[in-house]
Each structure stands twice: as C-alpha cells, then as structure tokens.
Symmetry: C2
Subunit: 337 residues, 2 copies
C-alpha cells in the first residue's frame, strides 16, 4: 500500500468519510447570540437539570451525541468508536458522558482544538478500514471552566479586554465510511507552536501562530491555496487572534478572502460583553455541528477548511512561568468526494 | 475494502506495525526495585535536573522519546506522528515535552491506560496507510501526582492498605509500518466500565472490572483464549486489583495461567512499602518498554497481551460523590506476524 500521507503533516483520505449526522446543545447566553437558530437544544439556566456544573457539562455531551445519532438514524450500539474530549481536569465531562453508553472509547486532550483532533483520528481510523461508524464529541461549560481556570463565579473577577468567554456548548458529529456527505477529504495534524505568549487572558494571541503554521502546512502539503475553499474557519482565535492570523499570513503574501472564526461568530461581540469572543472545546464543536454543516447541507458553501485551535497550558504551568503552547488541526470538508 | 474490525471492539491489523525502538526512564525508588536493570536511565533525585516536579515529568517524557529514537536509529524529524499523554491537569507533561520537537501531535487522556490507547491509535493509523513511523509516550511522576490528586508531600499523609504508589517513570515506543518485530497484531479498544467503586484509594478494585470486560471481549472477538498468550499483563491493577480480576475471570470459568501486573512487578511490594503496588501512566509504559519488550526480544515470550488499565475520575468528580469509571485497552504483541 502506498502511504496516504502528503508532505510533513497532512493525510489524504482515500475514501473520504461522510458526516452522517451532527447536533449541538448550548447554554442560555449562547442561545441569545447570533447563532441561536443553529442550536438543536438551548438550556434555560445552564444546569441541564444537574446539580453541579461538571455534571451539567457531561449531560450536554451525552445529549449532543444522542441528538446526532437520532439525526443519523443510528443507535449508540451501532457506533464502532467514540472519540471525546473537554477542558476539565482528567477530562471528566467526556468520561462520565461515555459511561453507560457501551461504546469503545478514546479520550482526547487537545484543549479547544479537540473537535478537530477527534475528526482527524476518526477519519483516519474509518478510512483505514476499521469499522463503519464513529462519533466525535467535545464540550465546554462557562461555569466549570471559570472555577477551574480562573476564579469562583461569585468573586465576580474583572476580565481583561483580550479575554474570551468560554462557551457553554457541546457538539457531536457522526462519521460514516459511506454516505451522502459532506465528506472529510484531508486532515492536517498540528505541531505544537509556542511563540512565548504567557498571558492566559490573551489566548487568541497564543494560538494564532499555531493556526498560521497549520494553515500554511496544509497549503504546502496539498498544493491548495485560499481560493480552494469557500470558507476557512478557525476555532476560537477570537477577534484579536483572528487579526493576528491575518497579519501573519499577509507577511507571507497570503490573503484569506473568506475567513471566519467560531469564537468571533458565536456571540454578538459588543452586545453580549464577551470582549474578544467565545472559546472552549464546545465553541467550534457547536459552530461546526450547526452553522457550518447546516450551511454546507443548504448549499451555502461547497468547501470549508475547519481549523480548531487549542492552548495547551494549565494553571500550574502558567504559575510556574511557562508560556502557552498552541496547536491547530485543519480538517478539509467538501460537499462532494 | 473489508472492515478490519472483529466483533464489537477489536481491530485486526492487516500489516501489523513493528516496534522499531523502545526506551524508558525512571526515578530513584523505581531504580531500587526489581526491574532496575530494565531502565535505560535512572535519575538520582527525581528532579531530572528541573526546578519543578511538573517540568521534571516533561523532561522524562522527552528523554524517553529521545532514547527510543536513538535505539530505532531514527531522528525525531522522521516521525510522522506523536501520540502522548499523562495524568496532569490539561496533560501538560506531554504538551511541554512535545513543544519544540516539530512533530504532528495527538494529545491523549486515558489515565493509566494511556500507553495502551496510544499504541492502539498509532497502530490503526499506520496500518491505515498514514505514514511510516509513529511514537507513543506516556509518563507519571510521584511528586506531581501526589500534590495534584492527594496532599502536599510535606504533609506526610497516611496511606491506606489498598493504595498504590504513582510511579516516577516514562516510556516511549517507536512503531514502524515495516520492521523486524515484535509486532502489534490486534488491539481491543476499551469501553468504560463503572461498578460503583468510589474509594480513590482503591483504584485496583475500580479498574479490575474494566480489565475483565476488555480481556473477555478480546477472547470473544478474536476467538483466542488464555493459552494463546505466553503472558497476559495488566497495567496497574496492583496486588488487590489483580486478585479481583482473577476472581472475576474464574467465575466465568476462565483461568489465566500466566498473568502478571505492571503495578505488582515495578516495586518490591513489601520491601519498598508501596502497599498494593505501582500505578500511573508511567508504570505500564516503563514496564512495557523495558522488562516486556526486552524479554520478547530475548525470546522469553513469543505472544503477550498487554492490557493497560485506567481510572477516569478526577478529584472534583470524587468530591461530588461520583464513582470511578474504569477503562482497559488490550494490545496483542507477537514476535512474528
């Protein structure tokens, strides 16, 4: 067999897997934002009927998976593999969401890039001939993230202008070896990029160089260019991170004619007081499994490059003076194969 | 292409990937134990020359990877993919170890089962035709784990009889699409199993049902039996967890003639005061990449079933009254293919 690897970090899927179903759930604030109509379920008080924020996040992931399976017309028992991840210590949202579901399970940690990492691995595993159906889920919750990463909600800490708002959202996608599309045709796996940004309230700046590196590698590995895509969507660089990405690409003589960022799209930036925009694993996961895939299905876009970004630090690494390692995975999604 | 999936959770590798190189590093206490001669490097004071335990753990993972690459006669730049994970919040040991290494990176969270999860994914990706060479690394450090999961070291907390000792160790394996073996022929991906054990000082009991489920599934999916293997090695069930596994299998009428457990082998259980044995991602990672693969190379065993186990809880989930979800992945390693 010849290798299906292109260049240094891209895989070309020989039989591009198809999105068989997708769904998302979101919190109250997200449900009041510009993408409200693209959410399958919006909770009225962000508890999702649970007694703790962590259990709420777990329930969100379970709900999103159940809804995506319904749309795909499949039962959980027909899934060959489940790839899942989140931001919480020891990824408990994912493990507890998968408990009792009886599906072979892969836990991932890619911070806010997790949805991309999961799609990359699920695509390669299905294309490799292993099984017929895989699910990818990712989630985040504003309240579980705030108390883990920052301060107790009750403290009411002031937020800096460059900060982003962790989305209360989860997304799930079902991939099938055969189907009607959209299809994942190429995946570019990110390398860790760290340009020395140490401000945990400016993660857009920390992640922009990783997005720049992966998008550049994707073009080099595949011979494609910005014009190959109707839309190039970054994960959650937010407003400032997006500007930095555009500037980094401009210096290379590359201009992205159609760029959007999930973090900048999820909220009404000024009206909802989210400073630089949304973030969290659930941000790009819910934008993909609503706005983006719905739009492709409706014929709005034919080719999208979906580029989730992640900041791979922890409070401990930051307290110890470390800068923030960034990563970005790129997933090429096409209406045809 | 016909599917390479057997039964509900096993993948059969069409072109079994070969271990091209493997290496490990260990701390002082591990270096005084029964497996001392199987470690490539033993640090004299567990700092590995770093100023914090977290940085020490990151350095361990980097060292293990470097040594394994040396043994494989390969440069880091020839690696197609790196799969890595650890126990720390946001998996910082792995991300910081991979920083600056310029390798497409997949972050994993499978608790102490991480080495198994990484070998499963790397095998499927290589067998699927994606690239030629992949590395899998995992680590744990007694001191970084104690302060994250339990109490500050200086507190000198009393340990219960069922507790295990987090290994200060890291292991790295290089897998190649072609090579002289040993080979990974089958992988059985774990489902999450939770029988309601909530005592975080008895993780062997929490994980034993997962090991039981995965080993049983492996036999069912492949048509194999205990006699197919010269050795069936669980990850870190420890002494008590191993007894529980043997009892669970005995009730099904299955007897494992040759069973060993990495947690029970790593230390001199009584002489080194480790209660039920070793644990942590680095425990089975370092036993595989020393004692087990060296033994296979020396002709001691021809067929091994390597079954790392993980406990997927967090301090937060335990404080909220949750029980401990367990997982176990099984990797069939053979001297021939």
């Amino acid at each position: 067999m010849t290798t299906k690897k292109l260049g240094s970090q891209t895989a070309a899927l020989a039989s591009p897997p198809s999105f068989a179903g997708w769904a998302n759930v979101a919190g109250k604030k997200e449900g009041e934002g510009p993408l409200a109509s693209t959410f399958d379920y919006i909770d009225k008080d962000d508890t999702f009927g649970e007694s703790t924020w962590e259990k709420a996040e777990s329930t969100m992931q379970k709900q999103a998976l159940g809804l995506a399976l319904d749309k795909a017309g499949q039962a959980a028992s027909s899934l060959d593999w489940l790839f899942a991840g989140d931001l919480l210590n020891q990824c408990i949202s994912s493990s507890f969401a998968a408990r009792g579901q009886d599906i072979p399970f892969f836990g991932l940690y890619g911070a806010c890039s997790t949805m991309g990492e999961g799609l990359v691995l699920a695509s390669m595993v299905l294309d490799g001939g292993f099984g017929e159906l895989a699910a990818v889920t990712a989630s985040s919750h504003f309240c579980s993230a705030e108390r883990q990463y920052r301060t107790p909600l009750e403290y009411g800490g002031q937020r800096t202008p460059t900060s982003q708002w962790t989305a209360t959202a989860a997304g799930a996608a079902i991939l099938a070896r055969e189907g009607l599309g959209p299809y994942i045709t190429h995946v570019t796996v990110g390398k860790i990029v760290d340009k020395g940004i140490a401000d945990t309230n400016n993660m857009g700046a920390a992640m922009a160089p990783a997005a720049h590196a992966t998008i550049t590698a994707h073009f080099q590995d595949t011979g494609r260019s910005p014009s190959s895509y109707d839309l190039i969507v970054t994960g959650d660089l937010g407003v400032l991170g997006s500007e930095l990405l555009i500037e980094l690409l401009r210096r290379d003589g590359i201009s992205l004619k159609a760029h959007a960022d999930c973090g900048a799209m999820l909220f009404d930036i000024k009206g909802q007081d989210v400073h630089c925009g949304g973030s969290g694993c659930g941000c790009c996961a819910s934008v993909l499994t609503g706005h983006l895939l719905n739009g492709m299905k409706a014929g709005k876009w034919k080719d999208i490059l979906f580029c989730p970004t992640g900041a791979l630090h922890s409070p401990t690494s930051s307290f110890q003076g470390e800068s923030i390692p960034g990563i970005c995975h790129a997933v090429a999604i096409s209406a045809s194969r």
